[in-house]
Subunit: 232 residues, 2 copies
Protein backbone atom coordinates (compact mmCIF):
# COMPACT_ATOMS: atom_id res chain seq x y z
CA UNK A 1 0.00 0.00 0.00
CA UNK A 2 2.68 2.48 1.03
CA UNK A 3 4.72 1.59 -2.05
CA UNK A 4 1.74 2.19 -4.39
CA UNK A 5 0.96 5.53 -2.72
CA UNK A 6 4.60 6.57 -3.13
CA UNK A 7 4.55 5.75 -6.85
CA UNK A 8 1.30 7.68 -7.37
CA UNK A 9 2.81 10.69 -5.62
CA UNK A 10 6.13 10.50 -7.45
CA UNK A 11 4.75 10.16 -10.99
CA UNK A 12 1.58 12.19 -10.37
CA UNK A 13 -0.57 9.29 -11.55
CA UNK A 14 -4.37 9.54 -11.68
CA UNK A 15 -4.93 5.82 -12.13
CA UNK A 16 -2.93 2.65 -12.61
CA UNK A 17 -3.88 -0.70 -14.17
CA UNK A 18 -3.79 -3.93 -12.17
CA UNK A 19 -2.60 -6.88 -14.22
CA UNK A 20 -2.34 -10.56 -13.34
CA UNK A 21 0.79 -12.68 -13.77
CA UNK A 22 0.07 -13.12 -17.50
CA UNK A 23 -0.24 -9.34 -18.02
CA UNK A 24 -4.06 -9.36 -18.43
CA UNK A 25 -5.93 -6.34 -17.12
CA UNK A 26 -7.92 -7.30 -14.01
CA UNK A 27 -8.75 -3.92 -12.51
CA UNK A 28 -7.52 -0.44 -11.72
CA UNK A 29 -6.42 1.68 -8.80
CA UNK A 30 -7.42 5.33 -8.92
CA UNK A 31 -5.77 8.25 -7.15
CA UNK A 32 -9.02 8.44 -5.20
CA UNK A 33 -8.15 5.18 -3.41
CA UNK A 34 -4.66 6.51 -2.76
CA UNK A 35 -5.78 9.59 -0.81
CA UNK A 36 -7.37 7.35 1.82
CA UNK A 37 -4.35 5.06 1.93
CA UNK A 38 -1.93 7.93 2.54
CA UNK A 39 -4.07 9.35 5.37
CA UNK A 40 -4.15 5.89 6.92
CA UNK A 41 -0.43 5.09 6.54
CA UNK A 42 0.80 8.40 7.89
CA UNK A 43 -1.49 8.10 10.89
CA UNK A 44 -0.03 4.66 11.52
CA UNK A 45 3.51 6.09 11.74
CA UNK A 46 2.43 8.60 14.42
CA UNK A 47 0.75 5.84 16.43
CA UNK A 48 3.63 3.40 15.95
CA UNK A 49 6.18 5.93 17.23
CA UNK A 50 4.02 6.49 20.33
CA UNK A 51 3.69 2.75 20.86
CA UNK A 52 0.00 2.25 20.24
CA UNK A 53 -1.85 0.32 17.56
CA UNK A 54 -5.01 1.78 16.09
CA UNK A 55 -8.00 0.53 18.06
CA UNK A 56 -10.47 2.53 15.95
CA UNK A 57 -12.82 5.33 16.95
CA UNK A 58 -15.50 3.07 18.40
CA UNK A 59 -13.11 0.78 20.26
CA UNK A 60 -14.23 -0.55 23.62
CA UNK A 61 -12.24 0.14 26.78
CA UNK A 62 -10.97 -3.45 26.65
CA UNK A 63 -9.72 -3.05 23.05
CA UNK A 64 -7.93 0.21 23.92
CA UNK A 65 -6.22 -1.28 26.97
CA UNK A 66 -5.19 -4.27 24.82
CA UNK A 67 -3.73 -1.90 22.19
CA UNK A 68 -1.65 0.07 24.73
CA UNK A 69 -0.77 -2.12 27.72
CA UNK A 70 1.81 -4.37 25.96
CA UNK A 71 3.89 -1.29 25.08
CA UNK A 72 3.71 -0.02 28.66
CA UNK A 73 4.77 -3.43 30.01
CA UNK A 74 7.69 -3.44 27.55
CA UNK A 75 8.55 0.08 28.68
CA UNK A 76 8.39 -1.04 32.32
CA UNK A 77 10.92 -3.78 31.51
CA UNK A 78 13.37 -1.54 29.62
CA UNK A 79 13.05 1.28 32.15
CA UNK A 80 13.76 -1.17 35.00
CA UNK A 81 16.89 -2.18 33.13
CA UNK A 82 17.85 1.49 32.61
CA UNK A 83 17.38 2.50 36.27
CA UNK A 84 19.31 -0.56 37.48
CA UNK A 85 22.42 1.49 36.66
CA UNK A 86 21.36 3.95 39.40
CA UNK A 87 21.61 1.08 41.89
CA UNK A 88 25.36 0.91 41.29
CA UNK A 89 25.72 4.51 42.48
CA UNK A 90 23.63 4.39 45.68
CA UNK A 91 26.60 5.43 47.80
CA UNK A 92 27.27 8.50 45.64
CA UNK A 93 23.61 9.56 45.81
CA UNK A 94 23.53 9.22 49.59
CA UNK A 95 26.64 11.46 49.79
CA UNK A 96 25.25 14.06 47.39
CA UNK A 97 21.48 13.91 46.99
CA UNK A 98 21.63 16.70 44.39
CA UNK A 99 22.68 13.96 41.96
CA UNK A 100 19.21 12.41 42.24
CA UNK A 101 17.65 15.74 41.31
CA UNK A 102 19.85 16.42 38.29
CA UNK A 103 20.04 12.93 36.76
CA UNK A 104 16.47 12.94 35.34
CA UNK A 105 17.26 16.15 33.43
CA UNK A 106 20.23 14.56 31.65
CA UNK A 107 18.15 11.47 30.82
CA UNK A 108 15.13 13.48 29.67
CA UNK A 109 17.09 15.81 27.36
CA UNK A 110 18.73 12.78 25.78
CA UNK A 111 15.31 11.21 25.27
CA UNK A 112 14.00 14.35 23.59
CA UNK A 113 16.99 14.74 21.30
CA UNK A 114 16.77 11.06 20.36
CA UNK A 115 13.06 11.40 19.59
CA UNK A 116 13.72 14.40 17.36
CA UNK A 117 16.33 12.50 15.34
CA UNK A 118 14.07 9.45 15.22
CA UNK A 119 11.03 11.38 13.96
CA UNK A 120 13.06 13.04 11.20
CA UNK A 121 14.58 9.66 10.25
CA UNK A 122 11.23 7.84 10.15
CA UNK A 123 9.74 10.60 8.05
CA UNK A 124 12.71 10.68 5.67
CA UNK A 125 12.59 6.90 5.27
CA UNK A 126 8.84 7.05 4.48
CA UNK A 127 9.42 9.82 1.92
CA UNK A 128 12.34 7.84 0.42
CA UNK A 129 14.67 10.78 1.15
CA UNK A 130 16.91 8.63 3.31
CA UNK A 131 18.46 5.62 1.58
CA UNK A 132 21.62 3.54 1.36
CA UNK A 133 23.27 6.16 -0.89
CA UNK A 134 23.12 9.03 1.61
CA UNK A 135 22.81 7.12 4.92
CA UNK A 136 26.44 7.58 5.91
CA UNK A 137 26.30 11.34 5.29
CA UNK A 138 23.05 11.67 7.32
CA UNK A 139 24.46 9.61 10.21
CA UNK A 140 27.53 11.85 10.34
CA UNK A 141 25.32 14.95 10.16
CA UNK A 142 23.17 13.69 13.07
CA UNK A 143 26.28 12.98 15.14
CA UNK A 144 27.52 16.53 14.61
CA UNK A 145 24.09 17.96 15.48
CA UNK A 146 24.05 15.82 18.64
CA UNK A 147 27.40 17.17 19.81
CA UNK A 148 26.45 20.78 19.00
CA UNK A 149 23.04 20.60 20.70
CA UNK A 150 24.67 18.80 23.64
CA UNK A 151 27.30 21.53 23.83
CA UNK A 152 24.70 24.32 23.77
CA UNK A 153 22.60 22.67 26.50
CA UNK A 154 25.78 21.97 28.49
CA UNK A 155 26.68 25.68 28.53
CA UNK A 156 23.17 26.76 29.60
CA UNK A 157 22.88 24.07 32.26
CA UNK A 158 26.42 24.47 33.61
CA UNK A 159 25.93 28.21 33.97
CA UNK A 160 22.54 27.83 35.70
CA UNK A 161 23.91 25.25 38.13
CA UNK A 162 26.92 27.43 38.90
CA UNK A 163 24.60 30.30 39.88
CA UNK A 164 22.78 28.01 42.32
CA UNK A 165 25.52 25.76 43.70
CA UNK A 166 28.81 27.66 43.09
CA UNK A 167 30.42 24.28 42.39
CA UNK A 168 32.47 24.30 39.15
CA UNK A 169 32.99 20.52 39.38
CA UNK A 170 29.22 19.90 39.46
CA UNK A 171 28.78 22.16 36.43
CA UNK A 172 31.58 20.37 34.58
CA UNK A 173 30.09 16.95 35.39
CA UNK A 174 26.64 17.85 34.07
CA UNK A 175 28.09 19.54 30.99
CA UNK A 176 30.17 16.51 30.00
CA UNK A 177 27.27 14.14 30.70
CA UNK A 178 24.94 16.20 28.48
CA UNK A 179 27.36 16.17 25.53
CA UNK A 180 27.90 12.41 25.89
CA UNK A 181 24.18 11.65 26.20
CA UNK A 182 23.06 13.88 23.32
CA UNK A 183 25.71 12.34 21.09
CA UNK A 184 24.53 8.83 22.02
CA UNK A 185 20.90 9.94 21.55
CA UNK A 186 21.60 11.10 18.00
CA UNK A 187 23.42 7.90 17.12
CA UNK A 188 20.59 5.74 18.52
CA UNK A 189 17.92 7.95 16.94
CA UNK A 190 19.32 7.48 13.43
CA UNK A 191 20.81 3.97 13.63
CA UNK A 192 17.75 2.27 15.19
CA UNK A 193 15.33 3.11 12.32
CA UNK A 194 18.03 2.54 9.66
CA UNK A 195 18.77 -0.92 11.08
CA UNK A 196 15.07 -1.85 11.27
CA UNK A 197 14.55 -0.66 7.68
CA UNK A 198 17.56 -2.71 6.53
CA UNK A 199 16.11 -5.79 8.26
CA UNK A 200 12.89 -5.21 6.32
CA UNK A 201 10.94 -4.14 9.44
CA UNK A 202 8.83 -1.00 9.88
CA UNK A 203 11.25 1.58 11.35
CA UNK A 204 8.42 3.41 13.16
CA UNK A 205 7.56 0.35 15.24
CA UNK A 206 9.81 -0.40 18.22
CA UNK A 207 12.44 2.23 17.38
CA UNK A 208 11.28 4.59 20.10
CA UNK A 209 11.35 2.07 22.97
CA UNK A 210 14.94 1.28 22.05
CA UNK A 211 15.97 4.94 21.76
CA UNK A 212 14.37 5.81 25.11
CA UNK A 213 16.09 2.88 26.79
CA UNK A 214 19.49 3.93 25.42
CA UNK A 215 19.09 7.60 26.38
CA UNK A 216 17.84 6.82 29.91
CA UNK A 217 20.53 4.23 30.53
CA UNK A 218 23.31 6.44 29.16
CA UNK A 219 21.87 9.52 30.86
CA UNK A 220 22.10 7.89 34.29
CA UNK A 221 25.40 6.11 33.58
CA UNK A 222 27.26 9.09 32.09
CA UNK A 223 26.11 11.55 34.76
CA UNK A 224 26.54 9.32 37.82
CA UNK A 225 29.73 7.78 36.46
CA UNK A 226 31.30 11.17 35.76
CA UNK A 227 30.08 12.42 39.15
CA UNK A 228 31.87 9.60 40.97
CA UNK A 229 35.05 10.37 38.99
CA UNK A 230 35.06 14.17 39.07
CA UNK A 231 32.88 15.19 41.97
CA UNK A 232 33.29 12.75 44.83
Amino acid sequence: QEEVAYIFDKYHLISAPIVDAAGRLVGQITVDDIVGVIQEESGEDILALAGVSDAGRDATIYEIVKSRLPWLILNLATETLAVSVIGAFQEEITKLVTLAIIMPIVASLGGNAGTQTLAVAVRSLAARELNAANALRIVRREMTVGVLNGGALAIVMAAALYVFFHDPKLSLTVALALVVNLFVASVAGILAPLTLEKLGRDPAVSSSVFVTFVTDFMGFLSFLGLASLILL
Copy 2:
Protein backbone atom coordinates in the same frame (compact mmCIF):
# COMPACT_ATOMS: atom_id res chain seq x y z
CA GLN B 1 -4.42 23.06 2.89
CA GLU B 2 -5.37 20.45 5.49
CA GLU B 3 -9.02 21.44 5.18
CA VAL B 4 -8.99 21.05 1.38
CA ALA B 5 -7.30 17.66 1.63
CA TYR B 6 -9.94 16.54 4.13
CA ILE B 7 -12.78 17.56 1.81
CA PHE B 8 -11.18 15.75 -1.15
CA ASP B 9 -10.86 12.61 0.95
CA LYS B 10 -14.38 12.82 2.39
CA TYR B 11 -16.25 13.39 -0.88
CA HIS B 12 -13.83 11.39 -3.07
CA LEU B 13 -13.28 14.41 -5.31
CA ILE B 14 -11.02 14.27 -8.34
CA SER B 15 -10.89 18.02 -8.87
CA ALA B 16 -12.46 21.18 -7.45
CA PRO B 17 -12.99 24.61 -8.99
CA ILE B 18 -11.41 27.71 -7.49
CA VAL B 19 -13.70 30.74 -7.74
CA ASP B 20 -13.09 34.36 -6.80
CA ALA B 21 -15.35 36.44 -4.55
CA ALA B 22 -17.76 37.07 -7.43
CA GLY B 23 -18.07 33.34 -8.18
CA ARG B 24 -16.01 33.46 -11.39
CA LEU B 25 -13.85 30.43 -12.17
CA VAL B 26 -10.17 31.29 -11.73
CA GLY B 27 -8.56 27.86 -11.59
CA GLN B 28 -8.81 24.32 -10.30
CA ILE B 29 -7.29 22.03 -7.74
CA THR B 30 -6.83 18.41 -8.76
CA VAL B 31 -6.56 15.37 -6.53
CA ASP B 32 -3.02 15.13 -7.86
CA ASP B 33 -2.09 18.28 -5.87
CA ILE B 34 -3.80 16.82 -2.82
CA VAL B 35 -1.68 13.68 -2.63
CA GLY B 36 1.44 15.79 -2.10
CA VAL B 37 -0.31 17.99 0.46
CA ILE B 38 -1.43 15.02 2.55
CA GLN B 39 2.06 13.49 2.56
CA GLU B 40 3.41 16.86 3.70
CA GLU B 41 0.80 17.56 6.39
CA SER B 42 0.96 14.12 7.98
CA GLY B 43 4.74 14.30 8.13
CA GLU B 44 4.42 17.65 9.88
CA ASP B 45 2.32 16.11 12.66
CA ILE B 46 5.01 13.49 13.37
CA LEU B 47 7.70 16.15 13.49
CA ALA B 48 5.57 18.54 15.58
CA LEU B 49 4.90 15.87 18.20
CA ALA B 50 8.62 15.17 18.44
CA GLY B 51 9.35 18.89 18.77
CA VAL B 52 11.22 19.52 15.53
CA SER B 53 10.37 21.66 12.53
CA ASP B 54 11.20 20.38 9.07
CA ALA B 55 14.65 21.59 8.07
CA GLY B 56 14.53 19.80 4.71
CA ARG B 57 16.69 17.01 3.35
CA ASP B 58 19.59 19.24 2.33
CA ALA B 59 19.57 21.36 5.49
CA THR B 60 22.92 22.53 6.80
CA ILE B 61 24.09 21.58 10.28
CA TYR B 62 23.28 25.13 11.41
CA GLU B 63 19.69 24.91 10.09
CA ILE B 64 19.15 21.56 11.82
CA VAL B 65 20.47 22.82 15.16
CA LYS B 66 18.23 25.90 14.78
CA SER B 67 15.21 23.65 14.13
CA ARG B 68 15.81 21.48 17.22
CA LEU B 69 17.63 23.45 19.91
CA PRO B 70 14.71 25.74 20.94
CA TRP B 71 12.62 22.66 21.80
CA LEU B 72 15.47 21.18 23.84
CA ILE B 73 15.94 24.48 25.72
CA LEU B 74 12.18 24.54 26.43
CA ASN B 75 12.43 20.94 27.60
CA LEU B 76 15.37 21.86 29.84
CA ALA B 77 13.23 24.56 31.45
CA THR B 78 10.15 22.37 32.04
CA GLU B 79 12.24 19.42 33.19
CA THR B 80 14.07 21.66 35.69
CA LEU B 81 10.66 22.70 37.00
CA ALA B 82 9.56 19.05 37.20
CA VAL B 83 12.65 17.83 39.08
CA SER B 84 12.46 20.74 41.52
CA VAL B 85 9.79 18.67 43.28
CA ILE B 86 12.51 16.07 44.05
CA GLY B 87 14.37 18.78 45.97
CA ALA B 88 11.52 18.89 48.50
CA PHE B 89 12.12 15.22 49.32
CA GLN B 90 15.91 15.20 49.72
CA GLU B 91 15.65 13.95 53.30
CA GLU B 92 13.47 11.01 52.27
CA ILE B 93 15.89 10.02 49.49
CA THR B 94 18.87 10.14 51.83
CA LYS B 95 16.99 7.84 54.22
CA LEU B 96 15.94 5.40 51.51
CA VAL B 97 18.03 5.69 48.34
CA THR B 98 15.85 3.04 46.65
CA LEU B 99 13.38 5.89 46.10
CA ALA B 100 15.84 7.52 43.68
CA ILE B 101 16.01 4.30 41.68
CA ILE B 102 12.26 3.74 41.42
CA MET B 103 11.06 7.31 40.82
CA PRO B 104 12.22 7.48 37.16
CA ILE B 105 10.15 4.36 36.38
CA VAL B 106 6.94 5.97 37.65
CA ALA B 107 7.69 9.17 35.71
CA SER B 108 8.66 7.32 32.52
CA LEU B 109 5.57 5.08 32.45
CA GLY B 110 3.38 8.16 32.90
CA GLY B 111 5.18 9.85 30.03
CA ASN B 112 4.65 6.85 27.78
CA ALA B 113 0.95 6.52 28.61
CA GLY B 114 0.46 10.26 28.06
CA THR B 115 2.22 10.08 24.69
CA GLN B 116 -0.01 7.19 23.62
CA THR B 117 -3.16 9.13 24.47
CA LEU B 118 -1.75 12.25 22.83
CA ALA B 119 -0.85 10.47 19.58
CA VAL B 120 -4.33 8.95 19.31
CA ALA B 121 -5.94 12.33 20.09
CA VAL B 122 -3.84 14.25 17.54
CA ARG B 123 -4.60 11.65 14.90
CA SER B 124 -8.33 11.63 15.70
CA LEU B 125 -8.46 15.44 15.57
CA ALA B 126 -6.69 15.44 12.18
CA ALA B 127 -9.13 12.82 10.83
CA ARG B 128 -12.09 14.80 12.27
CA GLU B 129 -13.07 11.75 14.36
CA LEU B 130 -12.76 13.70 17.59
CA ASN B 131 -14.98 16.76 17.88
CA ALA B 132 -17.09 18.76 20.32
CA ALA B 133 -19.93 16.24 20.02
CA ASN B 134 -18.00 13.23 21.30
CA ALA B 135 -15.18 14.94 23.26
CA LEU B 136 -16.73 14.29 26.68
CA ARG B 137 -17.24 10.60 25.94
CA ILE B 138 -13.63 10.25 24.68
CA VAL B 139 -12.21 12.09 27.72
CA ARG B 140 -14.11 9.75 30.04
CA ARG B 141 -12.94 6.73 28.04
CA GLU B 142 -9.30 7.87 28.27
CA MET B 143 -9.63 8.37 32.04
CA THR B 144 -10.93 4.81 32.44
CA VAL B 145 -8.13 3.45 30.25
CA GLY B 146 -5.60 5.40 32.35
CA VAL B 147 -6.84 3.87 35.60
CA LEU B 148 -6.97 0.36 34.13
CA ASN B 149 -3.49 0.54 32.57
CA GLY B 150 -2.21 2.10 35.79
CA GLY B 151 -3.79 -0.72 37.79
CA ALA B 152 -2.28 -3.40 35.57
CA LEU B 153 1.21 -1.87 35.77
CA ALA B 154 0.76 -1.38 39.53
CA ILE B 155 0.12 -5.10 40.01
CA VAL B 156 3.14 -6.15 37.91
CA MET B 157 5.46 -3.62 39.53
CA ALA B 158 4.26 -4.18 43.10
CA ALA B 159 4.73 -7.94 42.72
CA ALA B 160 8.22 -7.57 41.20
CA LEU B 161 9.31 -5.16 43.96
CA TYR B 162 7.93 -7.48 46.64
CA VAL B 163 10.08 -10.32 45.28
CA PHE B 164 13.21 -8.14 45.53
CA PHE B 165 12.59 -6.04 48.66
CA HIS B 166 10.00 -8.00 50.74
CA ASP B 167 8.52 -4.64 51.74
CA PRO B 168 4.72 -4.53 51.30
CA LYS B 169 4.68 -0.78 52.06
CA LEU B 170 7.14 -0.07 49.23
CA SER B 171 5.01 -2.13 46.84
CA LEU B 172 1.85 -0.30 47.96
CA THR B 173 3.52 3.11 47.51
CA VAL B 174 4.66 2.36 43.95
CA ALA B 175 1.31 0.82 43.04
CA LEU B 176 -0.68 3.84 44.20
CA ALA B 177 1.76 6.27 42.53
CA LEU B 178 1.46 4.41 39.22
CA VAL B 179 -2.36 4.53 39.23
CA VAL B 180 -2.31 8.25 40.09
CA ASN B 181 0.30 9.09 37.45
CA LEU B 182 -1.28 7.08 34.64
CA PHE B 183 -4.65 8.67 35.38
CA VAL B 184 -3.08 12.15 35.26
CA ALA B 185 -1.18 11.18 32.09
CA SER B 186 -4.42 10.21 30.32
CA VAL B 187 -6.15 13.41 31.37
CA ALA B 188 -3.22 15.56 30.20
CA GLY B 189 -2.82 13.53 26.99
CA ILE B 190 -6.40 14.16 25.90
CA LEU B 191 -7.09 17.61 27.39
CA ALA B 192 -3.90 19.30 26.11
CA PRO B 193 -4.62 18.72 22.38
CA LEU B 194 -8.37 19.37 22.83
CA THR B 195 -7.63 22.70 24.51
CA LEU B 196 -5.12 23.75 21.82
CA GLU B 197 -7.61 22.78 19.08
CA LYS B 198 -10.33 24.81 20.80
CA LEU B 199 -7.99 27.82 20.96
CA GLY B 200 -7.48 27.46 17.22
CA ARG B 201 -3.88 26.24 17.59
CA ASP B 202 -2.29 23.15 16.04
CA PRO B 203 -2.75 20.42 18.69
CA ALA B 204 0.38 18.57 17.51
CA VAL B 205 2.63 21.52 18.34
CA SER B 206 3.56 22.01 22.01
CA SER B 207 1.16 19.36 23.37
CA SER B 208 3.93 16.89 24.03
CA VAL B 209 6.19 19.21 26.05
CA PHE B 210 3.22 19.95 28.31
CA VAL B 211 2.25 16.29 28.69
CA THR B 212 5.83 15.26 29.50
CA PHE B 213 6.13 18.03 32.07
CA VAL B 214 2.88 16.97 33.77
CA THR B 215 3.78 13.26 33.86
CA ASP B 216 7.32 13.88 35.16
CA PHE B 217 6.16 16.35 37.79
CA MET B 218 3.29 14.15 38.94
CA GLY B 219 5.43 11.01 38.73
CA PHE B 220 7.98 12.43 41.16
CA LEU B 221 5.40 14.15 43.37
CA SER B 222 2.99 11.22 43.70
CA PHE B 223 5.70 8.65 44.33
CA LEU B 224 7.87 10.67 46.73
CA GLY B 225 4.82 12.21 48.44
CA LEU B 226 3.20 8.81 49.02
CA ALA B 227 6.56 7.41 50.13
CA SER B 228 6.91 10.06 52.82
CA LEU B 229 3.34 9.32 54.00
CA ILE B 230 3.30 5.51 53.83
CA LEU B 231 6.89 4.39 53.90
CA LEU B 232 8.94 6.64 56.19
